[in-house]
């Protein structure tokens, strides 16, 4: 039994007042509402599940083609298709709240009021551990420029959500900015309890025979191992200024990839595109991290930001 306790504590981390039994979460948009992956992996072994982004009303999403594979990665332009916050609470939460893992709701809106309202409806829903704010969504009142690329706008969204809910708030940052440190400071000032980064990097691919963009929306978000070095760099930069925990995201396929982020300064990680490739990726990453911790006689807590000079 002692061994069991020790094993748990080695992997456990605390972020925004929440205890995670291990530092591996699944990223929003790559793991549905959890139940889809139940036949393929042991959901109870995950540190947490971040569900598909939720808006006030259901959204139909973009026309196809919505995805295209690129070298060691993929572009997507799903258009934030989702069931809407009310259906999520009624239809998806009953399954999720039974799982022995943290459930985090990713939210977005087109106005600050949208964000506030989605957050309010989720606050107090049984089984929900935290909110993750997706600030990469276009701000309709500001001509469609994403909240996540203007520090003052990001600040507005985060403080509005934070003042409306009791749930811990994680802000998911866009990498499509000049200096990630400015964004980290802005959302921390607004009261975020943690940051997660990076969201996808804007990209584009062209069919040269047809001279057409391969995505119907022409541009989309690049994810997968192709973006990992960029993500590690940004997590490391963020860690230089952050006073709150960082969750690292970007092309993690294996435990070794996850460890890069943790050593660079992340307290936990999210696995995204890898779920499509191997639905068991996140659980395998947990096992691999545990093996590493034993071999190095250390814990996740001691490993965070332990990059040597």
């Amino acid at each position: 039994m002692n061994k069991g306790v020790k094993k748990t504590s080695r992997l456990a981390v605390e972020i925004a007042g929440i205890r995670f039994k291990n530092p591996v979460l699944t990223a929003s948009g790559t793991f549905g509402y959890g139940s889809e992956y139940a036949p393929y992996t042991d959901l109870g072994r995950l540190g947490g599940i971040v569900v598909k982004g939720l808006s006030l009303e259901p959204r139909a999403g973009n026309p196809g083609p919505r995805t295209v594979e690129t070298p060691s990665g993929m572009l997507n332009a799903i258009g934030l298709q989702n069931v809407g916050v009310e259906s999520f609470i009624k239809e998806k939460m009953p399954f999720l709240r039974r799982l022995k893992t943290n459930v985090i709701a990713n939210i977005f809106g087109e106005t600050v009021e949208d964000y506030k309202e989605v957050a309010r409806r989720l606050d107090g829903v049984a089984g929900l551990t935290a909110l993750e704010i997706n600030i990469s969504c276009p701000n309709v009142k500001k001509g469609g420029i994403a909240f996540g690329v203007v520090p003052t706008e990001a600040h507005r969204v985060v403080s509005a959500v934070k003042s409306s809910v009791g749930l811990p708030v994680i802000t998911k940052l866009s990498p499509n900015v000049t200096d990630i440190r400015v964004m980290v400071k802005a959302v921390e000032e607004a009261g975020t309890d943690a940051v997660s980064l990076i969201n996808t990097i804007t990209g584009m691919a062209v069919d040269v025979e047809k001279r057409r963009a391969l995505l119907a929306t022409k541009t989309g978000g690049l994810s997968g191992p192709a973006i990992r070095p960029i993500a590690v760099r940004m997590v490391w930069e963020a860690a230089q200024v952050a006073t709150r925990p960082i969750i690292g995201i970007g092309g993690i396929m294996t435990a070794k990839d996850a460890l890069e982020f943790i050593i660079a300064g992340a307290s936990a990680v999210q696995i995204g595109t890898a779920n499509f490739v191997d639905p068991d990726s996140a659980v395998k990453a947990v096992d691999g991290i545990e093996e590493y911790l034993k071999r190095h006689r250390t814990s996740v807590k001691d490993l965070i930001g332990s990059l040597k000079a």
Binding site: T67, N76, F276
Partner: protein
């Protein structure tokens, strides 16, 4: 989660660009028209799994659970090129069976299958169950007709059209469909979107039920990535159609439910 690894039984070149791959696997029940997601390599490029229609179930005849499956594929890009180099005895990572298959026809006077190119694949299991069906097959040229002999073994009504006239009739498979269609028929079709759009239009004019199996690029195959969206036709009372996922809502759809004008051909 661990289960017994699936292994490649054979990976044979059938002609220049075409292969047959057998995979040993104690399968669950497989419905005609279902597909699998195959990881062609452990490497990172190509990264994503590839969807393949299940061609045949290996094992005792007439059983929907098998001791393996057979896939047919054409080498068209990096993924299928790597697949063609895989060796018998190798483990292969396969998820499935996925999606809904073809609905079983009942009360129809005539079953017409329409296939374009590799669109033959998901029709084979259905064809085996329906001996009296007619198969109309279209291809660009003779070299693409290599698998038609499998169907001829048990089907009497097989008609082929090639665009260059090198095998069967010179022309398009949809021209054969115009000739074969009659009231009370049901159509099962799989092939390029342009062909399916034509077949759907022909079926609508003849007031005939038509089921199509669609192919779209997809990342997950299980309804999560939402990448393989196709637009459904607007229904009465609702302004616009909704998106349906080829992997989890299909791959088989009633052709009348698809907004064929939404495809950028």
């Amino acid at each position: 989660m661990e289960e017994k690894p699936k292994k490649i039984l054979y990976n044979r070149q059938a002609s220049a660009h075409y292969y047959r791959m057998g995979i040993s696997w104690a399968t669950p029940t497989i419905a005609p028209g279902q597909f699998v997601m195959v990881r062609v390599t452990d490497g990172l490029d190509p990264l994503l799994r590839r969807p393949f229609g299940i061609y045949n179930i290996l094992g005792p005849k007439g059983k929907s659970r098998g001791t393996g499956i057979e896939l047919l594929y054409k080498v068209v890009g990096k993924g299928t090129r790597i697949l063609s180099t895989r060796k018998p005895g190798d483990d292969i990572d396969v998820i499935g069976p996925l999606g809904d298959g073809f609905p079983y026809p009942s009360g129809f006077r005539k079953v017409i299958m329409v296939a374009g190119g590799m669109g033959l694949v998901p029709l084979y299991l259905m064809a085996k169950e329906l001996h009296g069906a007619t198969l109309l097959f279209g291809a660009r040229a003779r070299e693409e007709t290599v698998f038609i002999k499998d169907f001829r073994k048990f089907m009497r009504n097989v008609k082929v059209a090639t665009e260059d006239g090198s095998y069967g009739r010179k022309g398009l498979v949809t021209e054969l469909l115009e000739e074969e269609i009659s009231s009370g028929s049901v159509i099962y079709a799989c092939g390029p979107i342009g062909m399916l759009k034509q077949a759907s239009a022909i079926a609508r004019r003849a007031d005939v039920k038509c089921f199509v199996s669609l192919e779209r690029s997809m990342a997950c195959g299980i309804g999560v990535c939402l990448g393989c969206a196709v637009k459904s036709r607007p229904h009465k009372g609702s302004g616009s159609g909704v998106y349906r996922m080829v992997c989890s809502d299909g791959p088989v759809f009633d052709s009348a439910d698809i907004d064929w004008d939404s495809f950028n051909l």
